[in-house]
């Protein structure tokens, strides 16, 4: 038997701008001995780069960490620095921040669902092959992305690395008529997002349950996007300022990314759509809640393969929220709250499309960043992904190496790590004992 006994699946990473990774699986005597997800992670570079810069710069600089979720980096950075400066932003500006973030959720989720994840379920090697046979479906994904990018361009100045975000708010607040013109396109996007939920809910999902402790933000009364306090399925509840007391990062030899775990816990934890949904589904707005019910989702979802359904529901939520915020929008008196620096440390969290994104900045009295800390969702999830893969592989050892590798890739894409952006990010080398 070629796939019994000892074998090694080693998968080298493909160079990526957003992240680089690989996978290594060691099987001995028919048992999975080791599963490693190797990630080379950009935030460490940015942490060092931020030291010595002005407190006004992190929102712009950290937006370059990830081309897919710059608004998440800008938002967490702004909130951390605003906390250090001792300011808060008033409702209209907070709503504008949430509105911008809705655009990023829609754009990121549409890309992941239509370009990366759906082809896995439908038996296509990638988006191009899928598009050749299902042009109208891919066009629907592109329309969703277009609506999201237009929203980000109007508020952020542009959709890639928005330039209008600043500590305390925005350089310029959009006029009400500028936002009002987006409503038609967003209403159409809302319909397309509902169609997306119906479409992905019909996929076949492997029976798989992840039993990790789940960590997400919570804003009682609304689905968490741009802010909130942290809660876990294990009963934890703490503010951003206590993040590093509860989340411990440890160096592991095979990765430049630090592994995160919850303090006093033996096991890894999971952040991202499944955690957000399970801890907050009761606060989904009406259309998103109805779409979730129609898709057969209960109040919790712990099957990582169904994360594609949760992402689609979150697209509905984002489009619905965007329409509500645009409808209620009143131009603020000032586009920002002045932030005077002081010697202090500030913490910020927001829900990036992939999960909780934490920033911490230590400022001196002149507003120079002394130290910076960024804990992105992918590194928080790395240990949980490995744990899940171990069980996943153990149950599928009868598959040949090619099939097993393909299914592992799909399983990893469930978590939407930046490294999964490539449709073929794993190449296989097999060593047999």
């Amino acid at each position: 038997m070629t796939h019994r006994g000892d074998r090694t699946l080693a998968a080298a990473g493909l160079a990526r701008v957003e992240g680089e990774g690989g996978m290594y699986v060691r099987v001995s005597d028919g048992r999975v001995e080791q599963v490693r997800l190797d990630i080379y992670e950009p935030p460490r570079f940015f942490e060092a780069f931020l030291a010595g810069r002005s407190y006004t710069e992190p929102p712009d600089i950290t937006a370059r960490v990830c081309g897919i979720c710059p608004v998440a980096y800008q938002t967490s950075a702004c909130q951390a620095i605003e906390a250090a400066c001792g300011i808060g932003i008033p409702g209209p500006l907070a709503n504008l921040r949430r509105l911008l973030y809705c655009g990023e959720w829609m754009s990121s989720h549409a890309l992941h669902i239509y370009m990366l994840h759906a082809p896995d379920f439908l038996g296509y090697p990638g988006a191009v092959e899928f598009a050749r046979e299902h042009r109208e479906i891919v066009e629907r994904g592109l329309s969703l992305r277009r609506a999201a990018c237009t929203l980000m361009e109007v508020i952020g100045g542009r959709s890639i690395h928005p330039v209008n975000v600043r500590v305390g708010g925005f350089f310029r607040a959009p006029r009400a008529d500028e936002l009002g013109r987006l409503a038609g396109q967003l209403r159409q996007a809302l319909d397309l997002a509902v169609d997306t939920v119906r479409w992905v809910a019909g996929f076949d999902f492997p029976d798989f349950t992840s039993d990790h402790e789940l960590l997400a933000l919570q804003q009682p009364g609304s689905y968490p996007i741009e802010r909130g306090t942290l809660v876990s399925s294990g009963g934890l509840a703490f503010p951003a300022a206590e993040f590093e007391q509860h989340v411990i990062e440890e160096q592991v030899p095979h990765s430049t990314a630090l592994h995160a775990r919850l303090a006093d816990r033996e096991r890894s934890y999971l952040t991202g759509p499944l955690a957000r949904y399970t801890l907050n589904s009761r606060w989904l707005p009406a259309a998103a809640a109805a779409a979730a019910r129609e898709a057969g989702l209960g109040p919790e979802c712990r099957n990582p393969f169904q994360s594609i359904v949760v992402r689609a529901v979150e697209m509905v939520c984002a489009a619905e929220e965007a329409l509500r915020l645009i409808d209620a929008y009143q131009e603020p008196d000032s586009s920002f709250v002045p932030a005077e620096p002081r010697a202090a440390t500030g913490h910020g969290v927001s829900e990036a499309p992939r999960g909780v994104l934490y920033h911490r900045y230590e400022l001196d009295a002149a507003g120079i960043v002394r130290t910076a800390r960024i804990i992105p969702p992918t590194s928080q999830n790395q240990a949980a992904i490995q744990d899940d893969l171990r069980g996943f592989v153990q149950d599928r050892l009868s598959l040949d190496d090619e099939r097993l590798t393909r299914e592992c890739e799909q399983a990893i894409r469930n978590y939407d790590p930046c490294i999964s952006c490539a449709t073929h990010f794993l190449t296989l080398r097999v060593d047999r004992a």
Partner: protein, 188 residues
Amino acid sequence: MTGEAGHRAAHRVVVIGVGNEFRRDDGIGPEVLSRLREHLGAGPDAEAETVVQLVHSDGEPAGIVEAWTGASLAVVVDAVVADPPAPGRLHRLATGQGATGHGATGHGGPAGPREVSSHGLGLGEAIGLAEALGRMPDHLVIHAVEAADTGHGIGLTPAVSAAAGGLTAAVLRDVRAALGSGSVRSAP
């Protein structure tokens, strides 16, 4: 087969700079955009006969496809990783109307952009996606620069930096060849 009627404009020219300025030589795309902005002058100009759209891309294929949909000419600037490398060496690949198949773009071949682009998923996927969706520009020109270093850090390496001027001139030649002698400005 190229583009959709609803997207088509008479002479829409787009230059797409792919890359991340925080990844050393990967920043050549945005660098060329910045030089083009200086050369062309930005903003609406009553005298200008044609406005060139300058688009920064992180390499994400759907964004590239959206950017060049309906264009009569799309010029893409990207860094490539070559083996063996000759940092700063320029490559130019061009396709004509109706000649957007694998052979013409090379993305299905061993030396095509998919294989050598510094982005794991990018230009090759964008071309494949655009062909599948009927969203290729009439003419596509790809300028690829061999990179020395795409690790984290700012600033181009000397060899790639030295090539930036010639590359910008080459992009301008392509744009002017497509538009004739009229005044050209970049979009605001």
